[in-house]
């Protein structure tokens, strides 16, 4: 095969049981799966039997990136981590976590597209990767330390440029609700304990190599600039949050927060974010301030700057400096994260003395980040915090804990909204200490089971956001009606798919969204205004398929699905259109393997179908429609009793959703009755071997 650009060329294999280290040829074995989740699913399919438990040495954990990782393609910094999932209930199935930061790029520069770890070391170890020198080293001095210390100590060995993905005490203690974290604030949820079960404390990488860009450098420069020109702010919001001279539109809910007078107040001296005309590519990093988005205007004075993954201009992490919190709680002055990570501490509390966006909320965030990002705790997309609130205020915690253990916690602080409560709670979860510490660390499904609580009750609750298998929804009906619901049926944890919501929340008027939707998915009916949903339409199924496939494509290529796809842009002269073929353009030019948009989507479908096959095999059933692709009751409810398809509600209709699933299966070419892919569907994407294996087990429709 011709020398392809992009890929580093090697998959690193490590067996911690035997200490064996070897490599595979990425192109020869995995080219058709691209990388990332593609490699992850293929390894699990080929090498890990269905009934393996996540903590068995036979489970494998695959850290993988794609051909675009480490290049100048915008938004390519995420590493996909595939494994059998500890919090998936009642039976662990395949799932993935993702972490940003510098890991993806450094792994590529070291010469690897993926690291597959299997087995279990006899005692704590860490994996040292310094270009071609790979060693399994003693981590006993690091064991018991938090992620921060482990990272610093490994950096002392590998150098200050090293990138370290480490687990904290939570992962060491096999707490399912644990993360692996790199580059200070970038975590992948749910996998910490898998590493812990292998006695793998960390992977440290130092890469001094390079990646070839196959296409002519001038052409590559032009393509990169084209892609940059189409970027909005975080989550591809393409309008600012307040009227700006250059903008026709605005959206108070937009993550595009820059405006004259809004400053990075903790920069020395402060920097005004100013008017960020989208044509000025030298001001892109000022558009997004997620601390201000979540915490309100109070966050501006604490903002030092943005931060984020290698090569990404968006900077969705915000670094904040809060001296008062440092003084009050004895923690470092700076903290940084985004989204669930930023809100980790804050989300536990029902209220704060000074409201949801006051100084106390900021303190809670600082304390939460300080504790959780060192202990390595996972929030399960904030399901942990939602569950906690319900369990406490419904009296369940008091009931399940003995009186003695209940007394250990300063509940008055919790009810008052005193962030110091976190000092008592979070370390106990990481140490599996006590009944509460243990239960909360299991993940919702296993917690419900342990405490004999009803999953049905969780599925009826309007506020918990619980979906199935122990995990919450991730952008469902509230964002994209039936399209969102379909997406949420397909995975074994929250889907982490943003393809659809990046579009529906981009801030453009509904007429503009519908115009673009017609061009991309076939009719303006593909999207509805939020909370004014209309009955199911075939183009909504098409959009759901597109959203799912593009998520897998991004997770395999290494593009950030929190930013892409890029079907809309902030550019008035383009009619706010983006470019739906950006992924294929980037791939073709970097690798030299020319693929059209449809050919890339076929590769994505291959990856997606492999996930489907793994799930079917793992569950031992082909009855996916009734046993896996379920929708919780709350989706069909409205707290005020409003009817489906009336204005002001997200409420879906059961028959309409049944039709949605029908149309989705039809769109995918799957069997409607079972929801299982047909042999033809597998064949079309080149998974005939998978179909055969499933057929032998009676798992084809």
């Amino acid at each position: 095969m011709a020398n392809l650009g992009g890929w580093a060329g090697k998959v690193l294999r490590v067996d911690l049981s035997t200490g064996r280290i070897w490599t595979e040829d990425t192109i020869a074995r995995y080219k058709e799966y691209l990388g990332g989740t593609g490699i992850g699913y293929r390894v699990l399919w080929d090498e890990v039997p269905a009934d393996t438990h996540p903590f068995d040495p036979g489970n494998k954990i695959i850290f993988a990136v794609g051909p675009l990782a480490g290049t100048g393609a915008p938004c390519n910094g995420r590493t996909a981590i595939t494994t059998l999932w500890p919090t998936c209930w009642p039976k662990p199935l395949v799932a993935t976590g993702h972490m940003g930061g510098q890991f993806a790029a450094e792994l590529k520069y070291a010469g690897y597209d993926a690291v597959v770890v299997e087995g279990k070391a006899d005692s704590p170890v860490w994996l040292s990767i310094a270009d071609e020198r790979v060693e399994i080293l003693d981590a006993r001095p690091l064991w018991g330390q938090g992620i921060r210390r482990a990272t610093v100590e490994i950096s002392q060995l590998l150098g200050p440029e090293a990138v370290v993905a480490a687990i904290g005490q939570a992962g060491e203690n096999l707490v399912p609700m644990s993360v692996v974290m790199n580059s200070y604030s970038h975590s992948a949820g749910g996998v910490g304990a898998v590493m812990g079960s292998k006695n793998l404390k960390a992977i440290g990488v130092r890469g001094t190599g390079r990646l070839r860009v196959a296409g002519p450098k001038g052409e590559w420069e032009r393509l990169v600039k084209l892609h940059l020109s189409l970027l909005g702010a975080n989550n591809q919001h393409v309008v600012p949050d307040s009227p700006q001279p250059w903008a026709e539109y605005y959206d108070p809910g937009s993550r595009w927060k820059a405006a004259p007078g809004r400053k990075w107040g903790a920069a020395a001296p402060p920097i005004d974010t100013g008017t960020c005309d989208p044509h000025n590519l030298n001001r892109m990093a000022y558009r997004t301030n997620n601390a201000a988005f979540y915490l309100g205007d109070v966050a501006w004075k604490y903002t030092v700057r943005g931060n984020g993954c290698t090569g990404c201009p968006i900077r969705c992490h915000t670094m904040i400096r809060v001296p008062a919190a440092a003084a009050k709680y004895g923690i470092p002055e700076t903290g940084q994260n985004t989204c669930g990570g930023l809100n980790f501490g804050r989300s536990f509390f029902r209220k704060f003395p000074d409201g949801p966006r006051g100084e106390t909320a900021v303190e809670a965030c600082m304390l939460g980040m300080y504790l959780a990002d060192d202990l390595g705790l996972w929030c399960n997309y904030s399901q942990l915090q939602r569950d906690f609130q319900k369990l406490y205020y419904d009296g369940i915690i008091r009931q399940k804990l003995g009186a003695e253990e209940f007394k250990l916690y300063p509940w008055d602080k919790y009810e008052k909204g005193d962030p110091a409560f976190l000092f008592d709670l979070l370390p106990r979860i990481a140490r599996k200490e006590g009944e509460l510490g243990t239960a909360l660390g299991l993940g919702t499904g296993y917690l419900l089971e342990r405490w004999s609580l009803s999953e049905a009750e969780w599925k009826r609750d309007d506020d918990l956001q619980y979906w199935k298998l122990g995990h919450p929804k991730h952008h469902s009906a509230e964002d994209a009606g039936q399209c969102g619901v379909v997406i949420n049926t397909q995975y074994n944890r929250d889907p982490q798919c943003h393809s659809h919501v990046n579009f529906t929340r981009n801030g453009l008027p509904i007429a503009v969204q519908k115009r673009i939707a017609a061009e991309i998915w076939g009719a303006p009916d593909a999207v509805d205004p939020v909370k004014a949903y209309t009955p199911m339409h075939p183009t909504k199924a098409r959009m759901a398929k597109w959203a799912l496939l593009r998520k897998e494509l991004h997770d395999s290529l290494s593009l950030c699905n929190w930013m892409g796809p890029w079907v809309a842009s902030p550019l008035k002269e383009r009619g706010y259109r983006g470019d739906d073929s950006i992924e294929s353009l980037l791939y073709s030019l970097v690798t030299g393997d020319r693929k059209s948009r449809d050919e890339m989507d076929l590769a994505a479908e291959r990856v997606f179908l492999l996930h489907r096959a793994l799930t079917i095999r793992g569950m031992g059933t082909r009855e996916m429609r009734v046993r896996h692709d379920t929708v919780p009751d709350w989706v069909f409810q409205d707290p005020a009793g409003k009817a489906p398809f009336s204005k002001g509600t997200n409420r879906m209709d059961r028959d309409d959703i049944a039709l949605a699933m029908d149309l989705f299966y039809e769109e995918m070419g799957w069997d409607k009755a079972t929801g299982a892919p047909t042999p033809a569907a597998y064949q079309r994407v080149g998974l005939t071997d998978v179909a055969r294996a499933l057929g032998e087990k009676g798992l084809l429709p």
């Binding site: 009227p243 001279p245 004259p260 988005f293 952008h475 509230e478 929340r505 801030g507 205004p529 204005k647």
Partner: protein
């Protein structure tokens, strides 16, 4: 150019171009600052650069010609009218028509401004608009000022469509009943103010 020469004026071609270019630059600069340019702005700059002098009447006439020529010479210059019917200028390179319209409305009756913004949001996106949004730029209204406007609007026929809804976080949003019914508006306001953050 030919026009002026036909009038028999001995305008030096380089000076004529400089006049036109100066006008273009003044307008573009203003737009870049988020402002509409007035004829006075252009005149001030021309005089400061000694590109235009003479008796007031002649100057006015010349200015009009310069501005007309500037529009021809550039493809981004646009003209609009303010509340008093005076001509205002902006560059489409830096400012959209919608924003220019907003600036014009801002100079006029604040009640009308509020109503138009609320109606526009309620029909276009559609969504209610937070009251606090009027405190921010480019509106820059005071909280008390906004409250007083809303009180007055409540009693005027022309603004009966403008209504309020308050979210669970205690923030008030405005919407137009012409485009959004109360339950829909309330649900949307709750989504913008609370829901979106609970579903990050």
């Amino acid at each position: 150019m030919t026009q002026i020469q036909d009038r028999g004026r001995e305008v030096n071609p380089p000076k004529w171009e400089a006049q036109s270019q100066t006008a273009i630059q003044v307008i573009r600069h203003s737009s870049g600052q988020g402002q509409l340019a007035t004829e006075e702005d252009v005149l001030e700059e021309l005089v400061a650069l000694h590109l235009l002098e003479g008796p007031p009447a002649g100057v006015r006439e010349a200015l009009a010609e310069i501005l007309a020529a500037a529009k021809t010479a550039s493809d981004d210059l646009r003209e609009t009218q303010d509340q008093n019917g005076e001509r205002r200028y902006y560059s489409a390179q830096f400012m959209t028509e919608m924003y220019a319209g907003l600036l014009v409305r801002r100079e006029g009756d604040p009640l009308h401004l509020i109503a138009e913004i609320v109606r526009e949001n309620s029909s276009l996106y559609p969504r209610p608009f937070p009251i606090g949004g009027f405190e921010r730029m480019p509106f820059g209204m005071g909280r008390e000022e906004i409250r007083q406007c809303l009180d007055r609007m409540a009693g005027l026929d022309a603004y009966q469509d403008i209504a309020q809804t308050t979210t669970s976080a205690g923030n008030t949003f405005l919407y137009s009943r012409t485009f959004l019914d109360p339950e829909y508006a309330a649900a949307l306001a709750e989504w913008i103010d609370v829901g979106q953050y609970d579903n990050p």
